[in-house]
Point group: C2
Chain length 373, copies 2
């Protein structure tokens, strides 16, 4: 399913092609996040028009709303949301982590507060992990649920994405060595159970490497997951600042070269560039779309906050020479007005621009690999 | 500027054409409302794609945000919002009324509660009318403002719409004869002042007929406004239930036949049909777009509430044989999911469908007039 088209001469970056039953993905690629089967504010046609080949949806969210059984009855995620290209679903492990230890510690994909104390690390408010799976409370209505590796695979088979992930425990960067090791070993057992549980032969299953911030654990995890019969690999975990590069450098040499590698949930531009150089092929992140909804635009001169007073009568587009729909048609002044007025069009135009920027950013990276830049 | 192409044989309906410096409007026509220089959730290209030739924006709202001076600096409303077709702006009179007596009485364009008592009818909470103009409080930040006929025209000239309206006092259907008469006479004096104040020759100025629910006043008003040198006419006022048809029948015979007539703020389907039969050419209303944002869809079988349980696994589109983007691409089940999840795409898809429905409804009316159906 994965073909390396070219290796970069000056780094570990590779140009590749993933073939799925819903089309191809040119790598390195960024997947826009369609959490609940919609990239917020945009239609599938918008996503196609921007250039993206594939998107990522969230198993946890779709399980709760509208429910995987509904999606299955509707013919699967592709038909349900009318996206004919490749889809990836995560396993729900990260979201459950967010409800658990991550919830208490205010940790998302990246450590938000360096001063958070190492308290109650193993007991989250809304999720409890045991050796067999996780009990959690829905963030929507407080109802109780349970995910196990088998349940996660079943849900992902019902959703019908092209690439699915093993159910893992995503550990906090604040937990100690012993807990991280114990959790990693559990994640490994769960990975084997996911492989065993999977029935749908058209779906590719990616295993997830954990191991926290500890070199030996990351290497152990990459070796263990890497030797299992997965179609590709995810690198999971919530990184402390500056830990990402090191982690990738430990993990990549232990993974088979001929399979794609997805750095889960990472999407800052500089992080993407560094990760590609180190051998990462796939990315997903809510960063560009979330930023957009708050009025922050990605540009070749850095982030642009549309609320700045100087933009009040600025006739120029968000970014000079940008050929996206938003920049071809609207001024900063108009977009500021839309944001200040809480108009629905604001988020739509901003999301379109930011995703367009991300697409072109990845395209440029692919071109650079091609010519060994 | 206005040409009657054909008169209906069985009613007072007319097929017409308005030529503005930004293009033509085939009448009878419905204007989607772009309150703050945006039809909520849609781009100007969407509006064009649906088929609409013209839109209506609100002077009151744009005066407050971003301000008419900003819009003028940006090259006027057309350039500001990137809509190249004809634009109409109302005068702000109705919005100021909504802040005044209408605010106390919970009255919008149509009387919402028949049991509202006739209290404090002449003193609104946020607006006070005097003979020269209106003082009002911004609903956004509580700041104090004043509109006079001259100020309203100046603002509308700065905004630069193709069709603008005289500043009027829109009286409540609950006020008595004496107040309605006094107010109507004031509106007449304001109409003359607007005509005098207007400088921009490219803009068409429409006079507004008032007179409340009283036959003699409506006739007086239509005769008075009708003999002034306006390019067209608006019929204003907030109607009690069932009063609309009568009012139109009183007014229309007193207006010049060769000028277009706009029934301000009315947009229910059955009202439009009745009004067209009685000689109305133009309509605007937030009804289809507001309804859309609440999950109610216009269909040829009446209004459809997408939240109904039966639609949870309904693979069919909102309306059979509808060729709009929403119906061509998405199922009721998916759209229900978007609404239940508060997804931004929900309002966008619904607005697109409802406006598409309105456009085709008006197109059918025009075709019916053509063949005397």
């Amino acid at each position: 399913m994965f073909k390396i088209l070219k290796k970069h001469k000056k780094s570990k970056a590779r140009l590749g092609l993933i073939k799925t039953s819903h089309g191809v993905i040119h790598t390195p690629a960024f997947f826009p996040v369609a959490t609940k089967a919609t990239v917020k504010s945009l239609t599938p046609d918008d996503i196609k028009e921007i250039g993206f080949e594939a998107i990522l949806a969230n198993t946890y969210h779709l399980y709760l709303q509208p429910g995987h059984k509904i999606v299955k009855k509707m013919g699967g995620l592709h038909k349900f949301m009318n996206w004919s290209g490749p889809i990836t679903t995560d396993s729900g492990g990260f979201q459950v982590f967010s409800l658990g230890a991550g919830f208490d510690q205010n940790i998302g994909k990246v450590l938000k507060d360096d001063n958070v104390k190492n308290h109650n690390i193993h007991t989250g408010k809304l999720a409890k992990v045991d050796n067999d799976g996780v009990n959690f409370t829905s963030h929507l209505d407080g109802s109780l649920h349970r995910f196990t590796p088998e349940i996660s695979i079943k849900i992902q088979e019902d959703l019908g994405a092209d690439i699915i992930f093993t159910f893992d425990e995503c550990t906090s960067p604040l937990v100690d060595y012993d807990y991280t090791k114990k959790s990693m070993e559990r994640t490994h057992r769960w990975a084997e159970r996911c492989l065993k549980a999977k029935k749908n032969k058209k779906q590719f299953l990616f295993g997830i490497v954990q191991g926290g911030l500890f070199k030996d654990l990351r290497i152990d995890s990459a070796k263990f997951i890497g030797q299992l019969n997965f179609d590709g690999f995810g690198i999971g975990g919530s990184f402390g600042k500056g830990e990402m590069k090191k982690t990738i450098d430990w993990v990549i040499p232990c993974l088979p070269e001929d399979k794609p590698r997805h750095l889960l949930g990472i999407g800052y531009l500089k992080d993407i560039k560094e990760a590609v150089k180190r051998g990462i092929d796939l990315f997903d992140c809510v960063y560009p779309t979330r930023l957009a909804r708050h009025g922050t635009f990605l540009t070749n001169k850095g982030e642009l906050n549309i609320f700045k007073a100087v933009y009040k009568i600025d006739k120029k587009p968000i970014m000079k020479n940008c050929d996206c729909y938003t920049c071809r048609n609207f001024s900063k002044a108009y977009i500021q007005h839309l944001f200040k007025s809480n108009e629905m069009l604001a988020g739509r135009l901003a999301t379109y621009h930011n995703l367009s920027f991300m697409y072109k950013y990845m395209k440029k990276i692919r071109e650079d690999i091609k010519v060994d830049r």
